[in-house]
Symmetry: C2
Subunit: 423 residues, 2 copies
C-alpha cells in the first residue's frame, strides 16, 4: 500500500487528477487553523482530540451525515443544534463514538461544543462535533475541557496533519491531501482529512471527512457540491457493508482567496472536478485501508433500473465469497453470478454477462472460453475490475442504468482486528 501511495495522492487508475489541479505540499488553505491534543479518551495520553477552526468573518459550510437509525449524539447535535451552513469550528475525537449513549451522551456532545465555543470565543451553534470509536461506552469527560483548551492554544495554520492524526482509529495510514486548483477566476486551495477503515458502507455520507477551501462559495453551492461529490465517492464504497452510527462529512469555505465560485460558472465546474477527484481518491484510500485489506475491487453493473444495478453492485461488493476470492487472487466468477442471482431472486433464468479485468468469462448466463492464464495473471493485481451486464428486459427495467461500488477484500487480518479487539 505504501508503495502505491508513494506514487502521489492520485494513485488509483479509477481517479484522474484533473489538468487544472496539482497536489501541493500539504497544510490548510488560507483562513484555517488546526491542532490536536490528548483529552484522555484513548489510553496512555494518546492524541485523541482534533480542533479545526475557520477564522474568516463569514464562513460557509455544508455537511452530510449517516442515515443510520442509531444516530450518535455528535451527529444529532451537529445536524440539529448548529448553524450547519456557517460553522466556524469543528471538534472531533477518536477512541469513542459517543453512540448509543442516550441523553447523557447528548450532554457530552454539548459539553464538547460549549467548551470549544468558550475556548474560541464564538457561539456554540458555530461548532460542529464529530466522534469515532467504540459504540455504547460512555465517553470519558474528565480530560475533555483541558484537552479542548490545550488544542485551542496550539492552533496553527500548518495544523492539518495534527488534526488528521487525532481522528484516526484502526486506520493504518493517513488519508489527507492538499490541492491547488486553478480556476478561471483565480487559484484556490482545497484540503481534506478523512478517517475510516472498518464499519464502512456509507449511505449518503460516511465516516469522518473534513474538507477546507479558501474559495468563496454560497451556502447553496457548498451544499450542492458536497452532496454531488459525496454521492460519487463515499457513497460508492464498502469495506464490510456496515453503515456506521457516526459518519460525518463537513466542508468549510473560508473565502480568503477572494476567488468566488459562482453557480453554473466555469469556476464551479472546475472546482467541482477538483472536489470530486479529492473525495473519490480519499474514498478509495479508505477502501484500500479497509481493515486488513490487500486488494481492492471495483464492480460496475449495467443494464437494469437504478435500484436493480445498485442492489446487484452492493451484493457483489459485500459478498464474503467474492471478497475472499479477491483476497486470494482467485478469478472465481461463479461467486459473482451467485451474488447477483441472490440479489435478484425470482428472475431466473438470468442472462448475465461477466467480465474480470476486461476478460469475458460469462455471457448470457453461460461460461465462455477464455485464456485462464491471462485471467489468473490479471486477478493477481492490486485493483481488480468486475463488470456485470444484466438483461434489462429480464430484470423488469426499461431503463439501462449503471453504477459502481469500490470494495475491500476480506482477509485474515480483518478477522483478527475485529475478533480480537473491541472496536
Amino acid at each position: 500500500m505504501s508503495g502505491a501511495l508513494a506514487q502521489g495522492f492520485f494513485a488509483s487508475r479509477w481517479v484522474e487528477c484533473p489538468e487544472h489541479v496539482t497536489q501541493d505540499e500539504g497544510g490548510l488553505p488560507g483562513g484555517f487553523r488546526a491542532a490536536n491534543a490528548s483529552a484522555g479518551i484513548k489510553p496512555g495520553r494518546a492524541v485523541d482530540l482534533g480542533l479545526l477552526v475557520c477564522d474568516a468573518p463569514d464562513p460557509v459550510s455544508a455537511a452530510r451525515f449517516t442515515r443510520s437509525g442509531v444516530l450518535a449524539p455528535p451527529v444529532l447535535i451537529t445536524r440539529d443544534e448548529t448553524d450547519v451552513n456557517g460553522l466556524r469550528a469543528v471538534v472531533a475525537n477518536s477512541g469513542n463514538a459517543n453512540a448509543a449513549t442516550g441523553l447523557a451522551g447528548m450532554e457530552v456532545a454539548r459539553l464538547m461544543q460549549r467548551a470549544t465555543a468558550g475556548a474560541l470565543g464564538i457561539g456554540a451553534a458555530s461548532v460542529g462535533v464529530a466522534s469515532t470509536g467504540v459504540i455504547g461506552v460512555p465517553l470519558p469527560t474528565a480530560g475533555l475541557e483541558d484537552g479542548i483548551a490545550a488544542a485551542a492554544t496550539s492552533l496553527h495554520a500548518d495544523g492539518a496533519d495534527a488534526f488528521s492524526d487525532a481522528i484516526m482509529t484502526t486506520d493504518a495510514f493517513h488519508k489527507r491531501a492538499t490541492l491547488t486548483v486553478a480556476l478561471p477566476s483565480g487559484t484556490v486551495r482545497l484540503s481534506a482529512q478523512a478517517k475510516g477503515a472498518g464499519m464502512i458502507e456509507p449511505a449518503f455520507a460516511t465516516m469522518l471527512c473534513f474538507v477546507q477551501t479558501d474559495a468563496e462559495l454560497a451556502p447553496e453551492t457548498a451544499e450542492l457540491m458536497l452532496g454531488v461529490c459525496v454521492k460519487r465517492s463515499f457513497d460508492r464504497i464498502s469495506v464490510d457493508g456496515q453503515l456506521s452510527t457516526n459518519d460525518t462529512v463537513i466542508l468549510m469555505c473560508s473565502g480568503t482567496s477572494g476567488v468566488s465560485v459562482a453557480p453554473e460558472s466555469e469556476d464551479e465546474l472546475r472546482f467541482g472536478e477538483a472536489l470530486d477527484a479529492l473525495l473519490r481518491m480519499l474514498a478509495i484510500m479508505i477502501v484500500r485501508d479497509g481493515e486488513g485489506a490487500k486488494r481492492i475491487g471495483r464492480v460496475v453493473v449495467r443494464g437494469g433500473g437504478q435500484e436493480v444495478v445498485e442492489r446487484c453492485a452492493r451484493a457483489v461488493a459485500n459478498s464474503p465469497l467474492v471478497k475472499t476470492a479477491l483476497h486470494g487472487a482467485d478469478p472465481n466468477w461463479g461467486r459473482i453470478a451467485q451474488a447477483v442471482g441472490a440479489a435478484l431472486t425470482g428472475t431466473a433464468p438470468l442472462a448475465l454477462d461477466i467480465a474480470i479485468e476486461g476478460i469475458a468469462v460469462c455471457a448470457g448466463g453461460v461460461a465462455v472460453a477464455h485464456d485462464e492464464d491471462a485471467l489468473r495473471a490479471a486477478a493477481a493485481g492490486m485493483e481488480i475490475e468486475y463488470e456485470v451486464g444484466l438483461d434489462a428486459a429480464r430484470v423488469g427495467g426499461i431503463e439501462s442504468a449503471e453504477t459502481e461500488v469500490l470494495f475491500s477484500d476480506l482477509s485474515h487480518e480483518y478477522v483478527t482486528i475485529n475478533a480480537e479487539y473491541t472496536t
Copy 2:
C-alpha cells in the same frame, strides 16, 4: 463440535426432541435404498455421486428450491421436468454445481436424469437431480453414466450413510439422522441427509437436504409439511449471507409403514413436530459447520412488523462485525446496535433494547449497567443468544412480530477456505 455431537443428534438448546420421537441407529425407512459411487467429478476417484431410490409402488414427494435469479440446471430440471410430487429416485452429485452452464448444463442434468431412469427401469420424469460444488465449470460427463450404473447395482437398505457421504463438499462432519416417530396410528421412521457449510442463506429452501419416511402422506400433506418445516429451519439460518444457485430439499414418502398421516389429524401434528425438530437440528448443524465456524449465534428480534424484524435479524446475522465479535467471544453489543441502525435507516432515534444471553446491555437505545464479568463468561459459550427489542411505533409497525436467525461466526478458517480454494 464433535464433543457436542457426541451428546446425540439433538445437541442444541434451540431444538427440543419431541417426547414421541427417539433417535435410532440410522439407516433408511422402509421402502428406500441408497448407494454412492465415483463418477469422476471430484479428482482422485473420490465418491461424488449419490443415488436414492424409493421402491414403493406409489411414492409421494415434495420439494423446495432456491429462489436465486441464477438457477442451476439441476434445479430447473427437477422443478420443471419431473413429476415433483411423485419422485421415485434422486441422483445427486458433489464437486460441481452444474450452475451458470447454460443449455449444455441442462443437457448434462437431463443426462443424469435419463441415465438414472435407465439404470432403474423407471421414467425420467420420476428422477430428481441435485448438484453441489463449484459454479461456472462444465460438469465432467465422461464417468457419469458408469458412476450411475455402479451406484444402481449397489443400492441397499442401509445405504443412507453412503448417500450422505456422496453429497459432501466443504462439510467438516455429517449431517444426518434417523428418527423413530410414535404416532397415534402407529410408528413411522424419518431419515434425512443434508449438506452445506458455505454459501448459505437459503430463501424458502436451502443447500441439499433429502428426507425419507415410510409414513403415508397425501401429496398436499407432504407439500404443506415440507413448506412449513423448511420455513422454520433452513430458512432461518445464515453462514455467510450467500443464497446459493442450487439449494434443494426433497421429501420422499414410501408409505410402506402402512401408517397414514391424515390432514388435520393428531398424526399430522406429531409427524410435523418430528419433521420440524429434524430439519431445525439439521439446519443448526449446517450453521455449526459453517465454513470455519467455532461459535454459533441466534438473534431474536421483536417489536416491528414482519418485514422489519426479518430485515434486522438478517442484518445482525450477516454483519461481519457481529460475526467476528461472536468468534472472539466479545460481547460487543455496540455492533448489534450499529447493524440494526443500518437496517433501519432514517428512523433515528431508535429506542433499542439489547440483551446477550439474557443480560440486558442496552435499553431504550442507551447502555445499561450490567455485570461485565458475567457477560464475558456468557459470551464465551458455544451457542450465544442475542435479543433485540424494537420500539414498534418508531419503526412504523402496529404489528409486533418476532423472528429468529441462527448464524455462524466469521473466522480465520472461513477466509482460508474461501481465499485459498476455488469452491
